[in-house]
Symmetry: C2
Subunit: 165 residues, 2 copies
DNA sequence: CAGTATCCTGTCCGATACTG
DNA sequence: CAGTATCGGACAGGATACTG
């Protein structure tokens, strides 16, 4: 996905993350992958996007290292698309997105939920500080410039210019 | 953002979430808002998008209930954009996105980090099951059809058709 | 300062047709 | 089955100019 990463991506982790998962279809393909689907026609049927778009999206995902394309049979040679470790690392993002929406719905109105496969218990995931267990929504947690912040970041996060937090 | 919510959004929480945060600029504006910025020219300067696009994005965010537009002075009347509670609920998503990218970088290479404002300690947030504290990346957690799943969802999540999970 | 209006280009994306 | 090729409409988004 390097192709459409913009210059400021070198600076902002949010922009970089968005360059990977910021596209609608990409998330849906990823969702299929996490559900165990691997093949072109499965994606096409499940997601309902055009084959040319699917080709383009898969190409991008392979180029960015999220998926690998592997032959699963010879003669004729057929390929399947498998998540890499890097691709699997995107799962918490997907989980957080779905959890955000589900939290707005009554439990009975949810069409897709996360469950513990062993017990069947529904999970309502939260983002936390692993050290204390405090939810990330706590206002004590704020973004600030990191060690690698460039000039433009410092102009935003230097203590002399940032208005809030 | 209802304007470009697609039909299947009624069914899939992922699609719905993406319709709110799936656009590049929207996330960056939100980031500014969480940092305490509220005004048109601040967004423009920080993010570097064209004024016409900014107008459009702000309009969408107000229409979707993420921001409210409020006058902060009369004569001439000037407006600022404030996060609603609904808007604030998006913060864990933003945090998760930034954390995902930062996790790939050496600590010294991070340009923007989450810290505890009181202690200065850097936070590396994780998505967990709040009941057990188990990270959401654990493969025991799988997506499945919820009570409100329609026919097309059942065709994906019914036990006879899903290949994985 | 806080936008609106207009032009223009590039890209998204569905539809359709074709291939080994 | 697993794509590729091409067309065409809609929209994203930068640049520029204008307004109270």
């Amino acid at each position: 996905m390097a192709a459409h990463i913009r210059p400021e991506d070198r600076e902002c982790p949010l922009s970089t993350a968005m360059s990977y998962v910021g596209e609608w279809w990409t998330m849906l393909i990823l969702h299929d992958c996490f559900d165990g689907y691997t093949r072109f026609d499965q994606f096409e049927a499940n997601i309902g996007l055009s084959s040319s778009m699917l080709t383009a999206r898969l190409k991008t995902l392979v180029n960015s290292g999220v998926l690998v394309k592997q032959p699963y049979q010879e003669r004729p040679v057929r390929y399947e698309y498998l998540l890499t470790d890097f691709g699997r690392s995107l799962r918490p993002i997907l989980v957080t997105l779905a959890a955000w929406r589900n939290a707005q719905l009554a439990p009975g109105d949810r069409s897709m939920i996360l469950v513990d496969a062993e017990t069947g218990r529904e999970i309502e995931p939260v983002v936390v500080d692993p050290v204390t267990g405090t939810p990330a929504s706590d206002p004590r947690f704020v973004f600030t410039a990191g060690p690698a912040a460039g000039d433009q970041m410092l102009s935003r996060y230097g203590k002399d210019s940032a208005p809030g937090t």
